[in-house]
Symmetry: C2
Subunit: 479 residues, 2 copies
């Protein structure tokens, strides 16, 4: 079988070659396939099912804050993209252009959306008249296209899937609150569902979104000590509103510009899931996001009664609300185990003739391989509790890993040493000048990941130039 | 307020100008907005929420038959599109072409997918090796683009949203079964959820999908007697498999080509919802698909206790599992009623000071305007039952409308008379020749909608040429 063959060869060890390990896991856990379209990936059932669960979880959280879903066109006319100056400068170099429709040359080029601020502005302009129409809290689930030169599954692809939220408000204050609220939605989701702790902070001007007044970010730390920007939330002020003429008549009958936000999280986060939790046997999925939480594995399934008992366990677990499957294929148990491990299914239930005789089964955790022998009538209850334990333990391990990878740099030598020898976040003070940010990147390949919300003053001077420091910045190598 | 203003002017009467009535409903029920991208629509919250419910319902039905979701690229390289001859002939004239990525001319043009058979074939070729990998039952939810000259919201737009299922099987028989199974899923969904009865049948060669061996269709009848193709299911035989080299080694170790299907249903079905059930006050949504099933309307809401009681009712209805909202805006009740009616919310609950005194509230059906006075403690129970009654009544009315719009034509004069004077389906025998199909279209603008599964022989000869008849065909004018 196709999948079996791919599993025959073990994957690269994680600490031997992290990049190759990542590619191996992505392909052998059957998450994606490459396509004949350069830089575009195919989300296969195992990969899409994770994204489906992410959408489901986030969508409910968005709706709980009053957000409504919409769907806007895939195309943006060139003239529309050009209305906001910073925005077009940021995105024009990396868009795909449609120049022909059917057999005819188009009078105006259309770009395939790289993001949809411009289209949303047009919609807001047409649907907002009075303060009573505000706020508008919209979101869409879609794919976007950015023409990338080098690509890697999930982390950087020409087309990727995401949600983009766009809101307009009567006041700057309310828009700022929304920006922060959505960043918190992302951070809570990452922690509680993906078992990924994140750093919250603000991007420097260099790193912020094209057209934004401020960009906020959540940054996660991968196993190899590199950072991954995992979600962003932008405050636009009234910049786009002025460029697009989005006005409303306020309570005092004055015409005012709306204040705007946008926020997005993409399939990139699946890359984080892999690189935070995976191990030498493959993917390890946190139970709260795993499409299949428990795989029931009959041992010696040809023996009378084994398959029946395995199916009974599956049914009991399903009835308890656990996403459970039974692997009754004719592969041998070793194959089945390695397949289940490669795919990151959090819990395995082994049941064979001897277990049946003893009225028990064996629960095996994916994350620690720990085994629990349990009476058959306690299987569902124990499995449910174990899944919660696994979830909590995975978060605790990721938190410990994060906490162990902060390094304070009080001068430039310490910074360079950390950049070279200590993978993780480097905490260092910054004067606020672009020149220092560029020099640091040039010298060390580290970028400013964020100015964390929790500011401290670990030194009075900029780690790079020695001038008075303005902000504590977390720096790091990043995906 | 923007929306109020739009409601001030009543909509066109349905039987006065059906096309204008349709446009009025679509805009005033706030389902869509036009965009600056020619031929592309925006699905606004009220429109998208219907599509969301459609996706939710269909997705569960697909998964119950073993289908898995995937996501394939948005682009198809020109050389890939050209691999299957009939397919490219059908679609190439109506695709959008990406010719530039960033600032560079692409070495090969990419079309924006009009449908994804070619990409799925490539995926199947790469992931199927043995009979044990079969069947593959894949589906994706996405938008596709077909360059249309004239467009109308939902019915025909350059970009539209849909699902496209693609499956490959070891045998022709199994593939044929799947084609039929999915057509039945569509038909059952239309009947049970959308309250739309459909005719099931096979398309003639002229009307079938480009590259298909056979296309099956469900056809619905709109209020004006025109037909709307509402979902299709295609059997490809091994045509695509041969063009793309999708082979598997069978149980006897022989290499064989897979047998393939695809099936799709799109946002077009929302056009059917509008045109089957709508009336002079706007949209009428069947309760099973309505995003909001019940709107609670406080009367004289400034009076003490009214809003509190209205909120209590809303909470009770929500607790009973009904999708309920409370309209506590400061519009007057007349406005609120017409807005709720325009948006097609199936049930309204009126509650004012006198009702509270009498310990009752008033339930008003959207479809019949019938009022039911009910004790407050019976409101949820009665509303739940009423919603089911509305659903059943809407289906019964649509079925009666369909049954009343069949006309048998035994000769060409009868056919032309029916085409001119009797909107609906014309049942007439056909010799099977393309020439007659073309002549009928030329003479009457009627197209063959389908060769219904339930065949009868109402005459021995073709209604057009008088030669021996092969099939009973349902003909009609269509959207």
């Amino acid at each position: 079988m196709a999948n079996d063959k791919k599993l025959v060869k073990a994957i690269t060890a994680r600490d031997e070659d992290f990049a190759q390990w990542y590619t191996d896991v992505v392909l052998k856990a059957d998450l994606v396939d490459y396509s004949s379209v350069k830089g575009c990936m195919i989300l296969k059932p195992a990969g899409y099912a994770i994204w489906e669960n992410i959408m489901h979880e986030l969508d409910a959280r968005f709706k709980a804050t009053g957000v409504e879903n919409v769907a806007l066109p895939l195309f943006i006319p060139e003239s529309l993209l050009q209305k906001e100056k910073d925005h077009v400068e940021g995105f024009a170099p990396e868009v795909a252009w449609v120049t022909m429709g059917g057999n005819e040359q188009l009078p105006e080029r259309l770009c395939v959306r790289p993001t949809s601020e411009t289209l949303f502005c047009e919609l807001f302009r047409d649907s907002v008249e009075s303060y009573r129409d505000l706020p508008k809290l919209y979101n869409q689930w879609c794919s976007v296209v950015r023409w990338e030169k080098t690509t890697r599954p999930f982390l950087r692809t020409t087309e990727f899937w995401w949600q983009e939220g766009h809101t307009v408000h009567a006041t700057a204050e309310e828009a700022r609150e929304r920006t922060e609220m959505m960043l918190n939605v992302y951070a809570d989701f990452c922690r509680d569902v993906l078992a990924i702790p994140v750093i919250k902070g603000q991007k420097t001007d260099k790193e912020k979104f094209a057209g934004a007044e401020a960009t906020y970010t959540i940054e996660a730390l991968m196993h190899d000590g590199k950072a991954l920007q995992s979600g962003t939330s932008h405050y636009f002020g009234d910049g786009f509103a002025r460029a697009f003429g989005v006005q409303f008549s306020d309570k005092d009958n004055q015409l005012r510009y709306v204040h705007q936000t946008s926020w997005g999280l993409s399939t990139r986060i699946i890359g984080a899931l892999i690189m935070v939790h995976g191990d030498d046997s493959g993917l390890v999925l946190p139970p709260h996001i795993a499409p299949t939480q428990v795989m029931v594995m009959p041992i010696a399934q040809h023996k009378p009664g084994v398959l029946e008992k395995a199916a009974e366990i599956r049914d009991a677990l399903k009835a308890a609300g656990l996403r459970t499957k039974l692997d009754d294929s004719d592969k041998n148990p070793g194959w089945k185990f390695s397949e289940q491990e490669m795919r990151g299914i959090p819990l395995r239930v082994e049941i064979g003739p001897k277990d049946i005789e003893a009225g028990q089964c064996v629960l095996v955790r994916r994350d620690t391989r720990e085994k629990t022998v349990v009476a058959l009538d306690k299987a569902a209850e124990t499995a449910a509790a174990l899944l919660e334990t696994i979830q909590a333990d995975m978060l605790a391990r990721a938190e410990a890993h994060l906490a162990a990878h902060f390094y304070d740099a009080l001068n430039y030598d310490e910074f360079k040493d950390a950049a070279e020898n200590k993978p993780g976040f480097i905490r260092a003070m910054w004067c606020g000048d672009l020149a220092c940010e560029l020099k640091i990147k040039e010298d060390t390949t580290c970028t400013s990941r964020c100015m964390p919300f929790e500011q401290e003053k670990i030194s009075d001077v900029c780690v790079c130039c020695g001038k008075p420091a303005k902000k504590l910045v977390y720096w790091g190598k990043a995906y």
